[in-house]
């Protein structure tokens, strides 16, 4: 069977733009990824997403699934879109368990034999020469075979991947291993992506972070993500607050960022809030605009919860309102990342970013972006900047 064309570009994209940017295009080839958690999480979706991204880019992906029958796996991968999955090669590990004949080219006949598993996976990798290999997931082996044997196989699979220039991605939830074993596994990996899933107030929130990077050693913060049908993984911020003094242009900012937004305003002023849903370059966010008038400060108690980040909008032609802007930031709470939008920057008399930063006595790492919200200028850039700050890639 002919191997597919070599992938264009040296890096393997994750399909999550903010992440790919931080990774300078994606994971290098070859490399070893560990997708890790010690409690149940949704990490499988990242593995699946990674496999699908490869296929979308014209590459071949090898998916070793210990938990799902191939038909079920293929069916579930359709959630990522209806594209052609013929470049997805599955190693069937379940048919033999169910005493069914396998319809896959590569099938593990004796799930009780680590040797059989090893042979089948390596044969598939060498024959198919995939550019991405996903092992879903390693705790299946750790739980059934002697630890040393599994670690030996782990290393061997890494070597095989390296030899064919592939990115190999190991999913692993740790039920039984000690910390020093985990250290060893981390040591074998170029990149470690950790996962978290929490249920707060009846809502599941998933997040991931890169906690180990082969290059530059820079990590990310916890990145909240969600899965969108037919699209895949996106970064998701449940609440970005847009606030600032009266008439600074907050409602306009919300409108210009969202496809559809609502604004509860009367007689030219927001009396409750603005709300919009933003979707740009793989980032989804719910944005809420607060009123600027002091009489509506009670709104902050309702909306200033679980805030991922703040867009602080000020009228660049009204420096006298800068203290009020600072005050409103305090209403949101400490240690929440924020970006200052110097709005109406096209009007005469508008202060420069440097001036504003100076007058508000802002820490040097707080960006001040000149914007003209009515013309949608600078607003997206400000949001993307905020997203990067929240994720910790800037």
């Amino acid at each position: 069977m002919a191997a597919p064309a070599r992938p264009v570009g040296a890096r393997a994209k994750t399909g999550i733009p903010v992440l790919d940017e931080r990774l300078q295009g994606g994971f290098p080839r070859p490399s070893t990824l560990l997708l890790f958690s010690d409690k149940p999480t949704e990490k499988r979706i990242f593995g699946e997403n990674f496999a699908v991204q490869g296929i979308r880019a014209g590459e071949r992906s090898l998916y070793v699934d210990f938990f799902r029958a191939p038909q079920l796996a293929r069916g579930e991968l359709k959630r990522f879109g209806s594209g052609d999955l013929s470049n997805l090669v599955l190693v069937d590990a379940t048919s033999s368990q169910l005493l069914l004949p396998s319809r896959e080219r590569y099938h593990i006949d004796d799930i009780g034999s680590l040797e059989n598993i090893r042979e089948t996976v390596i044969a598939a990798a060498r024959a198919e020469k995939p550019s991405r290999i996903i092992i879903d997931s390693m705790e299946f082996l750790v739980d059934r075979f002697p630890k040393e044997d599994v670690l030996r196989l782990w290393r061997e699979l890494i070597e095989v991947a390296r030899a064919i220039g592939a990115v190999i991605c190991f999913l692993f939830i740790n039920w039984t291993l000690e910390e020093r074993d985990l250290q060893e596994i981390r040591g074998m990996s170029d990149f470690v992506v950790e996962f978290q899933s929490s249920l707060r107030g009846g809502i599941v929130r998933n997040s991931m972070r890169i906690s180990q990077m082969a290059e530059a050693g820079i990590k990310t913060n916890w990145i909240p993500y969600t899965f969108k049908d037919l699209i895949g993984l996106t970064v998701y911020f449940p609440r970005i607050l847009v606030t600032g003094p009266f008439a600074a242009g907050k409602s306009t900012v919300v409108k210009s960022l969202s496809e559809k937004s609502i604004s509860i305003d009367r007689m030219g002023t927001t009396v409750a809030f603005d709300y919009g849903n933003v979707n740009i370059t793989g980032i989804e966010a719910e944005i809420f605009g607060t009123p600027g008038q002091e009489r509506f400060e009670f709104i902050f108690k309702i909306f200033a919860r679980e805030v991922s980040g703040v867009l602080l909008v000020i009228d660049a032609t009204h420096p006298d309102e800068l203290p009020r802007a600072r005050q409103m930031l305090d209403l949101v709470g400490p240690r929440i990342p924020y970006v200052v939008l110097a709005n109406k920057s096209d009007l005469p008399g508008a202060l420069s970013s440097g001036d504003i930063s100076h007058r508000m006595d802002l820490p040097p790492d707080v960006p001040v972006i000149p914007t003209v919200a009515t013309e949608n200028r600078g607003v997206r850039e400000a949001l993307l900047l905020l997203a990067e700050m929240i994720i910790g890639v800037r």
Binding site: P40, T41, A69, D143, I173
Partner: protein, 220 residues
């Protein structure tokens, strides 16, 4: 004797095969649904279709509640070779394999989210996991899921088969829950039940006969 188990609590129900653990679960579920509680039924041993059928023989019709007051976490269907379609309009969370402990944990959380917390979770049975996973992994899984269930999800009750596990295993499971309910066969082969202990509560630890009438399961 039909006291309600508290919320944010975990219970282990142990008894030999055939003693009536399933019927006991159904009696609790009937009461829960009647009181407007939300129920998550995690099934490893029975197909949801069979559960609905057996509930019907005990005069409990589950279908009107499904999706609103009751959802199934179905760990069974995927492992049986035939795969009948779930009835339309019902929400069932499928887990593809008994080895996929992470999947079972996540499905329980998603089911709870679907209904809205707090929920009452019934796990039937934990014994099946031991055929497919190591005791160590299950112990860790049990600990994490029980803790998560108690703090975030509500109430959880696990049914476990008596007489198939090592004493060490049983003791471990018993130590990780708040309360233990036991069932047994009396000398005259009647089913009996007792509350062995309930952390934080005084329990009457005497054995009571446990009869299964089609209408309602009562302790005499």
């Amino acid at each position: 004797m039909e006291e309600r188990f508290p919320t944010n609590y975990s219970v282990l129900l142990s008894g030999p095969p055939g003693v009536g653990k399933f019927e006991y679960l159904l009696s609790r579920i009937r009461e829960d649904l009647r009181l407007g509680e939300r129920v998550v039924f995690v099934t490893l041993d029975l197909h949801p279709i069979e559960i609905r059928a057996r509930a019907k023989t005990l005069r409990l019709d589950l279908e009107p509640y499904e999706g609103k007051g009751l959802v199934f976490v179905d760990c069974y269907s995927a492992t049986s070779s035939e795969r009948p379609e779930p009835p339309p309009g019902k929400k069932t969370f499928l887990v593809s394999s008994f080895s996929n402990l992470e999947g079972i944990g996540m499905a329980m959380g998603k089911a709870a989210q679907e209904l809205g917390t707090p929920v009452r979770i019934y796990f039937y049975t934990i014994s099946t996991l031991f055929l497919h996973n190591s005791t160590q992994a299950i112990a860790k899984f049990f600990q994490i899921v029980t803790s998560r269930a108690k703090t975030n999800l509500g109430f959880i009750l696990y049914a476990v088969q008596e007489g198939v596990h090592e004493p060490l295993t049983m003791n471990l499971l018993r130590s990780l829950v708040d309360g233990v309910v036991e069932m047994r066969f009396s000398e005259t082969m009647q089913s009996e039940l007792r509350i062995h202990h309930m952390r934080g509560y005084r329990a009457d630890a005497t054995w009571h006969p446990f009869m299964q009438l089609p209408e309602k399961v009562v302790a005499l």
